[in-house]
Amino acid sequence: MIDAIVRLSVERRYLILSLVLIVVGFGVWSFQRLPIDAVPDITNVQVQINTEAEGYSPLEVEQRVTFPIETALYGLPRLAYTRSLSRYGLSQITVVFEEGTDIYFARNLITERLGAIKGVLPIGLEPKMGPISTGLGEIFMYTVTAKVGTSQANGEPWDATALREVQDWIIRPQLAQVPGVVEINTIGGYDKQYHVTPYPARLLEFDLSLADVSDALRANNDNRGAGYIERNGQQLLVRSPGLLENIAEIEQVVIANRGGVPVQVGDVADVAIGKELRTGAATRDGEETVLGTAMMLMGENSRSVAKAVGEQLESIRPSLPEGVELELVYDRTSLVDRAIATVQKNLLEGALLVVVVLLLLLGNLRAALITAAVIPLSMLATISGMVRTGVSANLMSLGALDFGLIVDGAVIIVENCIRRLAETQAGSGGLLPIKERLQLVYEATTEVIRPALFGVAIITVVYIPIFSLTGVEGKMFHPMAATVVMALLAAMVFSLTIVPAAIAIFMNGKVEEKESRVMRYAKFIYRPMLEYALEFRWVVLGSASALLASCLWLATTLGTEFVPQLGEGDFALQALRAPGTGLEQALEMQEQLEKRIKAFPEVDKVFARTGTAEVATDAMPPNISDIYVIVKPSDQWPDPGKSREALIAEVQEAVELLPGNNYEFTQPIEMRFNELISGVRADLGIKVFGDDLDQLLDTANAVMEVVQSVEGAADVRVEQVTGLPMLSVHPKRMALARYGLTVDSLQDLVAAAVGGENAGMIYEGDRRFQLVVRLPETIRRDVDNLGNLPVPLPDDEFVPLSEVATVELAPAPNQISRENGKRRVVVTANVRGRDLGSFVSEIQQRAREEVDIPAGYWLDYGGTFEQLQSASQRLSVVVPVTLALIIALLVMAFGSIKDALIIFSGVPLALTGGVLMLWLRDMPLSISAGVGFIALSGVAVLNGLVMVAFIRDLWHQHDDLRAAVVNGALVRLRPVLMTALVASLGFVPMALNTGTGAEVQRPLATVVIGGIISSTLLTLFVLPVLYSMLHQKTVNGGRR
């Protein structure tokens, strides 16, 4: 069939060549639709259900909100697991679905279930699903600040509340309309509220309660429509406006009548613009600010959406009030652009180098151009394929592309055609007639097409282990493997069709085999060396084995890293403070911290989120801050040569000194991924499931003791579950009964007094603000005197709170984590100096024996070791299967197991060069390097394949093994050198690049370059030696 295709390509060459136009057209069209991002999206299919429960403590949130919702989710189709978090005022349930589940389908299912339990949840609580976004969603952030010395229209200086109002009612509505933006999330400032703060003593004076105040406000704040009247044929609408509009009107609301005198709100309370009880705040460069984040809809193109948001931001600017500034602080576009620039540079330079090499070695411009043409064509075809399969263009997916590797097949074909053409032309002494030329091209192509195709097929096959990776690693590397395979397949198809067609058309002139000086010289050296090698074959084999053995040992000394880190340029850190730290305190510490970071001349901006934003996409308690450090371009640094790592280390050193903060250094996108994927990040996580928190903690501590005693355990920790100081107001039932009170009325009072009670809305046009009744700040904050709060009695008397309740300060759970509908406490541990497998099994066994686990409680083991187990299990099957598959392919190609094994022996020897090179450049083994090894095995096999095929054909023709080996090797010197040079030179820019994202590609390129050197040596010397040795026996045995 292959022959038929090639024949068709040669005969219908113009038709085939016009296919190029289709490929180009489709490729360009696809390119417009290609989602471009910096990194692959590793978020799982998840839906967050957030329920705000104002004033609820963690325990109540869990009992009233989290549990009912979790229960409702049982048995959802394609549900993987749920995990939940109950924290002050917030229930967050993360529902994770199986990979590949349609997000809209999943959300639909959840909506349905949520609808069914509406009645079970406390009144007024509304579960909401998080935005349809992924870890890559936070593409654009901006701050709203006021210029120094400017003031609001009413003369007041700009404060956080006023800026927030600008954000909520001017900026956000406009930004939210940008296509591709799913949510504008706001943090910082205060939601403007109207506060009515009654003084308890004044209330007592008029025998009023807090409830009387809020009832009065509710009853005096409404507009009502009253139908219409027809008068003399005209329709009149009837309406009674009664909304409160300003502070003066609120003050005049009458609460009660005492002795004929109306008691107004203003008589017992202050009315003012107040601050909400906020759960989060934003800071920038050491000062409070308002921070807006544009979240991108899942599956959108982050670059174009971020750009559109940026443009919209510009058009919003003129509509802002005087003195308010809108400043962009984080824009994904710049990172994407940088990353794409890196890839572009690598690919372009690589392609150029490849063209140069081809030109030099082939000595024929047309041939070089035909070969090089495969590069853009296969690129365009790959892009089309990426769009069709939904792979986005990013550092990972494009990072492993090497055009040298891709054109290998074409190189072999073109080289052979030229050689044959030149030979024949030299033989016949002139131009060939067209028919002969076509026939020659056909023959020359088919001569090498089989090995070339098998080579490409084998390279494709070696990528299979990558496809077997699952989870985060899978998401990272699948696109990479998919892209490479697509590019290879495209190149394979082109070398079958377009390349022969183009040769047939364009190589019509005189083809001189200008054996370049380089080639002649190479051959001159190679021949005697090969002869020597054949002579001293044991030395060759021995040194090859020694090299292999030493490299194996060397490989064990290399460091390892699993997932490579994509340098995002900017970096981020999380500041973790003691649990229970208040927001205002945390902000003070945060401001200190930011000033310190800002003092670095390399830092452009530093901004942070502390606590939870309006939409709880990341439910952080107020003691944690996510800090983004935006770094200036390195040419603006005082020392442009300083590495990013050095800067981070310096920053770390500086901030470590500040008291009260713990840090985790990370990067903006990475941080977001971690937040979303979450799970246990230590090597081993032992989850204790059960009901009673105290018991859970006891068991967890017992488990911790066991783990600590196991050899190799490090960083053993029990998840912090208690520690939030809580002020509990316990009702005294007897006392309440004596005064004719109910527990409910007492709780209402405490809630309204401290937390405030919503008494309606104040409307200003579109803008709407809550009207809240609560005690004045001075009284509310005075914890010591909470017991003196007067509780009004039904008979116009009162009693102090301490008479009917005890006020107690005690630590309480600061958050309750659940997984799959059960409470859990996690014990985490890392392993040092011991292999994880035996460590885990020892702990499992000892925990079974030594820890007394009560009925209804159980342990579950998770953590990175899970991945290790599943991945190594899978790889231990997949890798041998892959190797077997390669051999099977080789056997198919040659019909000889012996030949297949000879070629296959090239793989380990090729790897030695890669290992050596890694060692030289001081790089760890990583998946990136692994991908390099994979590509390398492919190249090694490809070269060996072509070489062995030739030697064998020569041997079959002339029956002289030694001559066949030497001549075959000499004939194949040029293509072997060519493929080796193009493949390795194509990777040189990548290996040397230091731009954004180069971290991922450097190890890969390093391995390939090093490996190709060793692999070429191997193909040129060891392989002929092996071939002659093994077949010598056959010859001697006389079986042939």
């Binding site: 649990p579 903060n661 250094f665 920790r717 890392n830 998946i927």
Partner: protein, 317 residues
Amino acid sequence: MNLLQTLLVVASTLGFAWGPAYATESSDSVKHDHEYETEGGHEEVRQEEEAHVRISLALAEQSGLRVAEAGPMVVTETRTSYGRLVTDPERLAHVTGRFNGQVRRVEVSLGDAVKAGDALAVIESNESLQSYTVTAPIAGTITQRNVNVGELVNGQPLFAIADLDTLWAELKIFPGQREDVSIGQQVRFAIEDKAYDGNILHLLPSKNDAPYVVARVAVDNNLGLLSPGLLVTAKIVVESSEVQLAVDRRGIQQFENRTVVFVQEGETYEPRPVVLGRSDERVAEVRSGLEPGDKYVVENSYLIKADLEKSSATHEH
């Protein structure tokens, strides 16, 4: 079978390339370093004797840490109570006519201030047909005037005179505070932003068997700003004494379920568990755990607590 061996080696090499890579969960060496450090901090906390924080003086200054010396201070313990102002019953006079008769003249109007002995009205007796003068028994303000000229007096009260110079606050003392409150204690009032002082003169059971006692305090109303019926918030000074050792309450923190203050020694700060005694809104007596002259953190003491506890700060999801 050289080749088969090679094959195995390759398989193991490839396997190796992935295998151990799983052992390290993250490539972020910065993070790892940090974890070790955190672990160190954690151990510090566990061994309580050694728990301390080192902060350079400059940084302490910058972070707003302020220290003070523990020493003798006056602790004024108070109890808060609410009550209403009432007129002094001893200074309230209801004036009646001694003999029934017709009112001839009324000398005063509602609200007039009178002295004792001032004439209030002239009444002509029905029996003697003699006129007699009704005089004010006490000085004060006319708060009621129930008669007019020509009306008949039939034993009903004609005037009420109240002396508002001194009012009484009737404070409700609920059982929870009863044992702390006794006669003679000083009481401070803040009424509409003005401070008033008084002493508890009586403790009476409440009238209608309500479960509290009433503490009566005389309040001087020379300025005339107070009126009966006004609700007052009172702070009863239960005890006021100089204690040998006291600390500012802003310096007190809860640490590992104990009450501590953070003592500064040079550049290190360490938590000292203390036993507190009496306290008021500002200061608290230290019964044990601290020596006079010890320097402890007053302002921003939370920072030290936060630094000691930061190792337990994690971000779980």
